[in-house]
Symmetry: C2
Subunit: 442 residues, 2 copies
């Protein structure tokens, strides 16, 4: 393919026409493809088919004689906490196993910090906060200032939605090769005690696939923060979600934080949403003993306990950490070819287009595609016209605003391989059109 910027004056029209023709041909196929969300495919869900008939009508007694059918057991079943202890990086006593959504756990721990304070803070977060729900229009009798979170960008839109819902100011920090710009993080966290937390997806980050280096994890654990109860919201959503032979490991943030005198800093989250069933999985929380005690004290006001039958169901199905890893290998066999297909097509079609680049993740659920500045919205609009739904431009940024309008999140897991290929071809065609338009070539 001719490199767009190298096209000389005479060839412009021809190249533009070719690009346009490609796109129109793609549009003509009348496809209906969805690359918006990091959802497992039906084939992946089939891997957990057994779960739908478990634990079986006679199996309901857990360790210690616990009748899983009845009330109670706020922290989760002993065997469930043991099952996830390794991937959470904490002993079972410091693990809480809850209902189906780790996002809900993150949301709730923020709400509790806002309304009840943390285990080591002098004041609840709200008292500093201009907390204000999006639904309520202008600020109402709010406090000056308000708390803030550091947000590595691009990041996970639903993290940002929680901040938006509660009026928590979002401060973007650039994502680098080895994690968030740690110099900037250290500087910001040290200077402003309104900065109470930071969103982190430390392994195979959403959407860039970034893996935090050991050095970055240790600096996050060790850094001075102006807020004594600063929290790392450590969303280890992709802890065992490998796409290559290399099972990437990251440093243990709980151990490092304790070593550096900040044991309560990390709140670690994970779930089985992309291990077993997204709609019917388990969420996990791990933290210092004091944080666990704090969370359980808050949860006491909310519920009598989680769905223990679903925990037993998962224990029976997954059995142990080796069982989890075996299952994840099967996921990988299904989804790695889809990632490869996208990478291959982008390589063929977009390799020489200036200012276009994309990630080659070793795990997780996304490829992050960077297009020329100011082109992301246009690419997404073109794709939509051609029947390919992409995540809205800016979704990976606080307030939905990508300052450069250049990042597009590609989620290749849900459609079949052939559809992924079609969609990637289509996205490439759209990128070429938008880039050519931008360069004034069409």
């Amino acid at each position: 393919m001719t490199k767009i910027t190298q096209v000389n004056g005479k060839e412009i029209t021809g190249v533009g026409q070719e690009i346009q023709k490609n796109y129109e041909a793609f549009k003509g196929k009348g496809l209906k493809l969805d690359l918006t969300r990091g959802k497992p495919s039906a084939a992946q869900l089939d891997l957990s088919a057994e779960l739908l008939a478990l634990p079986g009508s006679g199996d309901f007694v857990a360790e210690g004689g616990v009748d899983c059918r009845n009330y109670g057991g706020l922290q989760g079943l002993t065997e469930a906490r043991r099952l996830f202890s390794g991937i959470m990086g904490a002993p079972p006593e410091q693990v809480v196993v809850a209902n189906n959504s780790s996002l809900a756990l993150m949301h709730d721990t923020i709400v509790y910090a806002l309304l009840a304070g943390t285990c080591d803070g002098a004041r609840r977060w709200f008292t500093q906060g201009a907390t204000q729900a999006a639904s309520q229009g202008p600020a109402q009798g709010s406090h000056e200032g308000g708390i803030a979170f550091l947000c590595p960008v691009p990041g996970y839109d639903r993290h940002f939605t929680i901040c938006k819902e509660y009026g928590i100011r979002m401060i973007p920090v650039a994502m680098k090769e080895d994690g968030p710009d740690i110099d900037a993080v250290e500087r910001l966290a040290a200077q402003d005690d309104a900065i109470k937390g930071m969103w982190c997806v430390p392994k195979y980050s959403n959407p860039t696939g970034t893996v935090y280096s050991d050095a970055v994890v240790e600096r996050l654990a060790a850094m001075k923060t102006a807020a004594p109860d600063f929290r790392l919201y450590w969303d280890n959503a992709y802890c065992v979600h490998h796409l290559t032979d290399e099972r990437v490991e990251i440093a243990n943030v709980l151990e490092l934080s304790a070593k550096h005198g900040h044991p309560h800093r990390p709140l670690v989250f994970a779930s089985t949403s992309k291990i077993t069933l997204p709609g019917a999985g388990l969420a996990m929380f791990a933290a210092s003993k004091e944080n666990v005690k704090w969370l359980l004290a808050r949860l006491t006001a909310r519920t009598i306990g989680p769905d223990k039958v679903n925990q037993l169901r998962h224990v029976r199905f997954l059995k142990n950490e080796a069982g989890i890893l075996q299952l994840m290998d099967k996921h990988r066999a299904l989804i790695a070819p889809k990632f490869q297909k996208v990478l291959d097509i982008f390589g063929q079609k977009l390799a020489r287009v200036p200012n276009v680049s994309w990630t080659r993740p070793k795990g997780g659920y996304f490829i992050s595609l960077d297009v020329p500045k100011g082109c992301a919205q246009r690419v997404i609009a073109l794709a939509k016209e051609a029947g390919v739904e992409l995540t809205p431009a800016g979704a990976a940024y606080p307030y939905g605003k990508d300052p450069d309008d250049r990042t597009i999140r590609i989620a290749p897991t849900f459609p079949g391989l052939a559809e992924v290929a079609q969609a990637a071809e289509g996205v490439a065609a759209c990128v070429l059109v938008a880039a050519a338009e931008k360069a004034g070539k069409v």
Copy 2:
């Protein structure tokens, strides 16, 4: 039995000795019985054994082609909302089906009102509130005043725990034969705009078994409230939990509130905790369209959706409202004899003891026993000594303080019939000792 107050001077010692002897004999049995919580027995849970193997490994597609295994479906499955529409008293569009705890739904709707405001209020509740978690010690930078809830007493301890957690002032209102003292409720709600809500267990109330009369429901629906966004927290926990042939019905609070121009006033809650499995059931919410829209907008920030597989599991098992009622008949067959046993024993042992009375509920999970003023704590301590665990004195009152120290909540469902009989005998023996002590007879 000789009536204690009728004992003449000469007989005092003898009667006291007899009562004391009875109690010591009971204590000598070395029992270990628990009448504290309204938990179904194992035999009741066995009624839902089938649920533990459902939906089965090939069954996961719900109406509209929804794959229950995957993400999404914030409001709950269509068929699940239809299944519970009748008992919620609202069309399926106005029903939300959520995870396993209606208490969690009540908690969360309060949290959302505190932090985000209601669908029809000018300000979020928190801005008026001296909201302060119990964990945080003295008020911290709080506002004047704070919001308040009306609390019919005796009531459900976990409702009061939510208020305590968030510093919501609790204003007790006496429970009468036909519901809360409605004159007092009308007067209080009309005069103070800090009063934002009221706890109601309208049918077979916890712990008194009270059924709100149609007149009381209508006055609650129609009354003027100083707060424009006053909410009835309508915890219809025992909606189908009958103990007699009479399936008691109550007035439809959603319809009556709409009729009287306050459509957003009631938030209706229920769950399958005491229909199927407490640890692994479903919680339901019903309200005006605007309230449902409001709740879903809040939930969007919290989760991608509920456990739809568990909803499908329940739909397959319960099938329809008739299926629910049939199952409840089986529960009744198991628990009504336990209630009758307690009533029989109390009748035999306590009928003529002055200032002792108890409820004869037509449904629900509790018998409320009133002992002579100042005796409840003593009875509970005596019972504990004899191996019978009762709900702590005062639990049914805001702040755990029964001003008369006279109400004891009896939960007869969990133990076997023989144990219930033993426990009731023991409680009666303790009441006699405490009453005799109070009357100066021992």
